[in-house]
Symmetry: C2
Subunit: 227 residues, 2 copies
Amino acid sequence: MADSDTRQRILDAAELLFTQYGFEATTLRRITGAAEVNLAAVNYHFGSKEELIRELFRRRLTWLNQQRLQELDRLEAEAGDKPLKPSQILEVFFGVALRMAADTKGGGRAFMRLLGRTYAKPSDFVRGFLAEEYAAVVARFKAALIKALPGVPGEEILWRFHFMLGAMSYAISGTDALHIVAEDALDDDDAEALYARLMSFMLGGLRAPLPALPAKSAKSPRIRKAA
Amino acid sequence: MADSDTRQRILDAAELLFTQYGFEATTLRRITGAAEVNLAAVNYHFGSKEELIRELFRRRLTWLNQQRLQELDRLEAEAGDKPLKPSQILEVFFGVALRMAADTKGGGRAFMRLLGRTYAKPSDFVRGFLAEEYAAVVARFKAALIKALPGVPGEEILWRFHFMLGAMSYAISGTDALHIVAEDALDDDDAEALYARLMSFMLGGLRAPLPALPAKSAKSPRIRKAA
DNA sequence: GTATGATTCAAACAACTGTTTGAAACATAC
DNA sequence: GTATGTTTCAAACAGTTGTTTGAATCATAC
């Protein structure tokens, strides 16, 4: 009974509206209006608008990342000490996310879109939360990828991971943005097709030949690997 | 003088602040404060905050896309009717952007970051402008890519193009976001290294084997296939 | 000099923001 | 029934928002 109906209604309405209009542009009055609760309910149940946002991320993101770690655990256990295939690793990390994004009914889609944007431009007060929530996950997946791709240096993998996050983010905010760019070219694919497309693109990128980096500019020691 | 000093000062300050805090969270008072002009100057010179934003995009984006088309023209003229190499095409489209993004002094960097975010979540009133500004460019590059990659269907190319835009966007807002995820993993590479990394990733993705798409649901208008 | 038009300025505007308040309504225990 | 604690509600709060105003300043022409 800790979660009153009101709490849930607010979270759901907020998720949708934040996705549509962003954090700043979404007012408490619109949220409580859509949720059909009293204006003061947000501050009563969550304390403030910021904490509402944090709670919103918590309930989804924590679950999402637990899921990712859990599936990776299972896979690695199965494989013994043989390295996983890169495709397997990507399928776990992005598969979980895209499956969540495909869930239009439960609001997962709204959340994933919100997440993609927020990750690209974290408001100061979610930044810390994101870092905390992601650190362990990224570390685990980076390690798995390094093991899976012995030819590719860790730094490169991290960058490519980052590029992949970008591709995924755009894939999810997807259809909308594509209409900006291509007048009518696409009917909206279903999630499965998108998943297949994205995955083959990412795998291609991940396994691409290493770039010829410019002569490592004798950049003064950036406290890089400190003593 | 059509362009008073004030106008320019406002645009520069606005570009920086919008990048840092987003459109909604950046107030006219902060802008005019940073630009050291009177508050009323924005409405006097631009009419409204929205038109200031539009003007801001206009002065950069128009130039950027003209540049892209121009370079593509030159390349295609050189090649006669032989198709270009995919790498050449990507180098034009993303090279121009990344060179602009590398320009920290002229404020190009600030703008490109702003653009990446805005593209992912266009405020209603820039959406139309973006579409108009991008339509021709994307059409040209799509055509060039189709010619360069006869094996890949146009729809697939468009999606991959979209994924690449995402990768680029994240690459540019880049270092910030990566610090969320990886505590200190990178000293800031120079733009050239980022360019090389991104390019090899994209080329890998662009040339990846085609995905095995799920049984194509009836393609005709919006109606979903009754599974 | 004066006249004309563009630009700047401080001040005010109405509208909206997140938050607080204190009383009302509700539930659950005794 | 009364008492107790939780939740809702309308109203108000103080602060900020983009925009407007009308007088002051500046530049340039006559």
